[in-house]
């Protein structure tokens, strides 16, 4: 089956930052966590997908179609939630909905009313009077009310307190149970993805470091801890990233089973978190 989102050789040069020939594929039925530190290129990639920035090279296909040649048709089928509110603060929730609803071909008023009630959004309140969490819920309600097949979310949870963040993720995982839909969810808060992501794509300094199934990552990678006195140069070569201090070391290896076979018994080998995997990958040159 054709990917719902396919990026090939995407290139964009800025003064001081370059997005280097990004390749990415997202299939229907999956949630892809797009992770990386601030300034890694997540938002740039998303803005290029949405044609908010002009690409310098490469190809972006959404629903199998060129994202610029078929821009209106594609955007009718995309729901977006950005890192901050870009809706008009002076309008009320229902006024803003009225403006947006008229622009979508498949606007579903029934679904909107359902989410409005579910998220307890006050229709007569001005958007500027809503809390950040409520603004995000409003964005999500709009994104879920026009039969979008692809949801694109650029750091939707950044700046939300842990409680609201958890609530937002619960809503999202509950609503996205459709095999025909897909989500691209960018974040630097990797714990957001523990519950909801199927795929993890890591970007750093404008380059994709990996794009793999989340379970595969967590099942294969290993976090190794031990006494640094027994850390030979040959052992060091096995690490993706390594952190040493006065007491010992901690490092990430790609193959946990292999590490268990080869490393001494006094090394502790654990299952890493997504955050460990991200941090050791982006610090690899510093640490190995």
């Amino acid at each position: 089956m054709e990917p719902i989102l396919e990026i090939r050789g995407l290139y964009k040069k800025f003064n001081g930052f370059t997005l280097k020939n990004i390749d990415l594929a997202l299939n229907r039925g999956y949630i892809m966590g797009f992770i990386g530190p601030n300034g890694a290129g997540k938002s740039t990639t998303i803005k290029l997908i949405m044609n908010l920035l002009k690409k310098d090279g490469g190809q972006i296909k959404i629903f199998g179609k060129d994202h610029i040649l078929n821009e209106q048709e594609i955007k009718n089928r995309i729901g977006f939630v950005f890192d901050e509110n870009y809706y008009y603060e002076e309008l009320t929730v229902s006024e803003m909905k009225w403006v947006v609803a008229r622009l979508y071909q498949k606007w579903d008023e029934k679904a909107y009313k359902y989410y409005l009630e579910k998220f307890e959004l006050p229709p007569d309140k001005k958007i500027k009077e809503l809390s950040k969490g409520m603004k995000m819920k409003f964005s999500l309600a709009i994104a879920l009310s026009h039969n979008a097949e692809l949801l694109i979310m650029d750091e939707p949870t950044s700046g939300l307190d842990p409680l609201i963040r958890s609530e937002f993720l619960d809503i999202l995982s509950e609503e996205i149970q459709d095999e025909n839909k897909a989500v691209l969810f960018s974040t630097h808060i990797t714990s957001d993805l523990d519950k909801i992501a199927d795929f993890i794509t890591l970007i750093d300094d404008g380059e994709i470091l990996f794009s793999t199934m989340k379970d595969e990552l967590l099942n294969n990678y290993g976090l190794v801890k031990g006494d640094k006195k027994v850390l030979s140069p040959d052992f060091k070569k096995m690490f993706i990233g390594l952190k040493e201090n006065a007491f010992g070391f901690e490092g990430l290896v790609r193959d946990r089973k292999k590490a268990k076979r080869l490393f001494p018994d006094n090394f502790i080998i654990e299952k890493p978190t997504l955050e460990d995997i991200m941090l050791y990958h982006i610090r690899r040159e510093k640490n190995v």
Partner: protein
Amino acid sequence: MYSLIVKDILIQKQRMLISFLIIILMLVSFQGIGEIMFTVSVGAFTYSLAMTACAYEDINKSNIMLNSLPLKKAKTVAAKYLSILVYYIIGTIIYFVCYIISGITKIPLNVHPLSPEVLIGGFVSVCLMQGIYLPIFFKVGYVKSKILNFAIFFGFFYGVSYLITIIKRDTNILWVKKLVEFIQAQSQVSLAMIILGVVAVFLLVSYLLSVKFYKQREF
């Protein structure tokens, strides 16, 4: 496109009252100015609303949202141009209401009556002013175009009155002479048609430039 025009009015509901007061202030300040009273007051009203609508686009960073919607850039641009016509109509209605009220109540406020010449003059001024400004707005946004925007506003009013003075005073200059002769040779209707035709072409060029600039912009 209709929803974008309504949106521009909705985001400045409260501002409408201030703009309404601008018309009253202009009527009071420009007593005895003659038929330019309409152009100045409705021009200022339209200018105020058009600028506020543009400012809100930048304040809300709404270009990111607008360009993520299934909306052609040409339509976003067209909505801004059509909004100006809407403001002009609202301004004209307010002006007309002021004229009626001043006539009925006999308050010492002399509101110049409306006529086709006055209406066309006001419309042309509004179109020229916004036709110059909007391509700049679509190229660089509101904040960066702010200084230029003031220059256009004051340059326009002083420029037009300077031009009228030249035409009246230096009737011996060849192009002025020819222009005056040409204007005098036309009937009222054909002159109005020529002026509106020129403005229409000017607006079309302005619109096409705005679309070109907006399509090139990155957000």
